[in-house]
Amino acid sequence: MRCQGVTKKFGALAAVDDLNFTVKEGEVLGVGGPNGAGKTALFDAISGVNPSTSGVIEFDEVRIERMPPDQVCSIGLSRTFQLNSGFDSLTVLENLMISCYFGASKRKIPGAFFDAKTRDEVTETMEFVGLADFAHEEVRNLPVYQRKLLMIGSAMSRKPKLLMLDEPVGGLNPSEIDKILELVERISARSVTVMLIEHVMRFLMHLSDRVLILNRGRRLFEGLPSDVLSDRNVVEVYLGERSANALRSQMST
Amino acid sequence: METAVLVILGGLTLGGMYALSAIGLSLIWGALGMLNMAHGALLAIGSYACFAIFTYLGISLIFAVPLAMIAGGIVGLAIYVVIVRHMFRHPSFETNIIIATIGLAIVSENLILRFFGAYPYKQPLSIQGGFRIGEIFVPYQNLIILACSSVLVAIVGVLLQNTRMGRAIRATAMNKDAALLMGVPIGRVYAQVMVFSGCLAAVSGIMLSTITTLSPTMGDSPMIKAFIIVAVAGLGNVYGAFYVAIGLGVLEAVFQYGIGVRFAFPALLLLVIVSLIWRPYGFFGSKTVVRN
């Protein structure tokens, strides 16, 4: 995927300001930056939820910057949300069924029943992310960790080429973070390209092949995760000296 | 030339009437996010109230009109107490209230029919006479309608812009939940808006009935026009509604002259639909999400 000159303006404020970058096939690109840096606005622009003001977004040689979200989804680009969003009144199973049935392929006219293929794939997805025990739980009753799993599971059941995760571990405890980390690694191993936003730097640095740090809608840093901590700008604007040191010692162990 | 003046004059009168019907509706829609299907009934109630106070109680028109307004306000309050109060927290308030007000419209239409019958009474408050521009006779009544609608729009505009109540109403209109968190007593705002729009509807109804006659269903057709106007103008924009009302009035007069009375309304509707597809937020509307 290639983004060129992508800009998203809310009135006079540019949440995303003339951004250029590429996501290579198969890699994991981590996106970081302070609050209000335009990370989620960028995701919204790419996924068509809140289209960009100007600029070109290309995915597999197809221009997608003006595509409605359902179409973006059907060409293989699928995302999760920062908030714990699912279909609250439905069960985990039903959530995944919907995602798989409508998201995995472009449907002209839906049938009368969910087909066997969808059911098999959903069963597989539930095993894959570890939600099998919660199949019949209504989403509104799910604990946070399982909700995060559900979002990733839903996104995976759409069979994406590019998976966009918006803060997949926000609000989780360290052991849960580790489990998600391992899950994303397994996803990446399935040769799905991953783009993820995260504030938990340990998570971001560990998973990413490359890191993109944004500030005020512009690129502050782009490069290898190992170079992030030595970048003066990033440490100054985003991380702060102390947490950078802490991270350095963590990374070295 | 003369036909042109005639058409435009007719259009302005229509526009004034539409603006009158649209003001109260626009206010309710903007502030409460509710489509009041009983607005036509409110128009009818106001004009029957004025008629009854003058004819049966023999009270002078100077007092009859304010009394009718009070009656309209009371009906508005009653709608709030009996219906809206129980519903506005419900997740599907927007749609359920449409159904509820359909019920209300049926009830009030039939009540009027019970009490007054279907006889087409004349509204006592009407000014005879007029003046001439060349060959064309301009009744004073038409001018009064136009003037009255502009005055009412101005009053509503000032109230919304410059008073505490107006600020509360606008805050509620922008974001119900946020307003609630900021300590705006939403229930009271809703009640105020209902009373206010009841008063407005009463005046509008009285003015409308001066150039037609009274009937239990007299409000239905103006209400539909008002719906369209409010939709084209955009969510709850009172000034916008006024301009659109005048514009559509003139347009309808032109259509009536051009393609006949029968097709004027359908043609207008078609135009409105096309324009709404083109500008789904309306022409003066704020950007509330209307489309996906």
Binding site: P69, D70, S74, S78, R79, S85, G86, F87, L90, T91, L93, E94, I98, S99, F102, G103, A104, P110, G111, A112, F113, F114, R119, M126, A132, D133, F134, A135, H136, E137, S154 | W29, M37, H86, H90, S92, T95, I98, I99, A100, G103, L104, I106, V107, E109, N110, F227, I228, V230, A231, R262, F263, F265, P266, L269, I273, L276, I277, P280, N292
Partner: protein, 368 residues
């Protein structure tokens, strides 16, 4: 862990509805043998017609989230198409009814294309305006297409409506009992319409609409195109609504602009609300109740509309789920004893950090 998703999902959700349908259909089929009053048969036929219309309206409004007030326009399009074809071209009424359904589909696509890009409240007011425009157009129809003056016949018959366009021809076949023929035609229409409803509500589309209602952004990002699927459901339901219009015309041998009037709208809306908007069986229950009440209050016709208005307000304010919702809540309470325990059990297990077994949490998905 074993995942017993396959059998539970499909069977438990769908089959009770089909069983109810079959049971009701059986009752419907044998009912005429116990009826000897022609009036009662005629009223039953009318019930079937209204139940068809309301069931489709419910799908559109209660499930697909299209606040359409133009459902009766589609009904009228179906009825008028059958009547006009019968009158001017001598078309057989069976064929005319089917063509009426097709014409209603065309009309729904036009209306849908114009309105469904907008949402909620805008759809309501535009469809209401369209219904009014249609009413005015028919009511003011004075262009003679045959004859003039005394013999003038307008295309739609104007305010008097159309008559003498034929019927299903059961009079020759069944003699005095011809109404039974109409009854079975109406029953077939209702059965097809309800089958369609079940398919929509319990199938993928029903879930898609639930998803849209729960969280539109996520739904759209899951590949659900609201506009497309709404248009689809609107068109399909228009077909059955149009068919009902054709059956109405053939049964009463007359159709007029009153089908677009406020009283009928009120009558059908009250069926919807009393039965329960957004409940699969609500419309059938509501239509039956309202027809019964209407029958009882026949002596008080001048209060009929007043009463309908009051019923609508009463139900939408106090019982927005209608009778069907009430029945559901009562039956849930019976099951609730168990459900309550499961809830505590589940919470207890979470607190201990134990996984929740799915056997304990088999929430029936028939929650609409």
């Amino acid at each position: 862990m074993t995942v017993q998703t396959r059998p539970t999902h499909r069977r438990s959700a769908a089959s009770p509805d089909y069983l109810i349908l079959i049971a009701l259909l059986a009752v419907g089929i044998v009912l005429p043998y116990f009826m000897d009053s022609r009036y009662a048969m005629s009223q039953l036929t009318l019930f079937l017609i209204w139940a068809t219309v309301v069931s489709q309206w419910n799908i559109v409004m209660g499930f697909a989230g299209i606040f359409s007030l133009a459902q009766l326009v589609l009904f009228a399009v179906g009825g008028y198409t059958a009547a006009i074809l019968g009158k001017y071209f001598g078309t057989d009424m069976f064929l005319g009814t089917l063509l009426g359904g097709a014409a209603a589909v065309c009309a729904s696509l036009l209306i849908g294309f114009a309105c469904l890009r907008l949402r909620g409240i805008y759809v309501a007011l535009l469809t209401f305006a369209i219904a009014q425009a249609a009413f005015l157009l028919i009511n003011s129809d004075t262009n003679c297409i045959i004859g003039s003056g005394q013999t003038c016949q307008t295309l739609t018959g104007g305010p008097r409506g159309l008559s003498q366009f034929g019927d299903y021809g059961f009079r020759q076949l069944l003699g005095r009992n011809y109404i039974v023929g109409n009854y079975y035609v109406a029953l077939t229409a209702l059965a097809l319409a309800v089958t369609f409803s079940i398919v929509i509500v319990r199938g993928p589309l029903g879930f898609a609409f639930k998803a849209l209602r729960d969280n539109e952004t996520v739904a759209v990002c899951s590949g659900i195109n609201r506009y497309k699927y709404q248009l689809l459901v609107f068109a399909f339901s228009a077909f059955f609504t149009g068919i009902a219009g054709g059956v109405y015309a053939a049964h009463f041998k007359v159709i007029g602009p009153s089908v677009l009037g406020f009283p009928l709208l009120a009558f059908l809306v009250s069926m919807l609300v009393v039965g329960g908007l957004g409940r699969l069986w609500g419309p059938v229950v509501g239509a039956a109740l309202l027809m019964l009440v209407d029958e009882q209050l026949k002596e008080f016709t001048e209060y009929r509309n007043l009463g309908l208005g009051a019923i609508i307000i009463f139900f939408i304010v106090l019982l927005p789920d209608g009778v069907a919702g009430m029945i559901e809540r009562v039956s849930k309470k019976f099951r609730g004893q168990l459900g309550e325990k499961q809830g505590h059990w589940g919470r207890w297990r979470t607190r201990l950090g134990m996984p929740m077994g799915n056997k304990l949490h088999k929430q029936s998905s028939a929650n609409s």
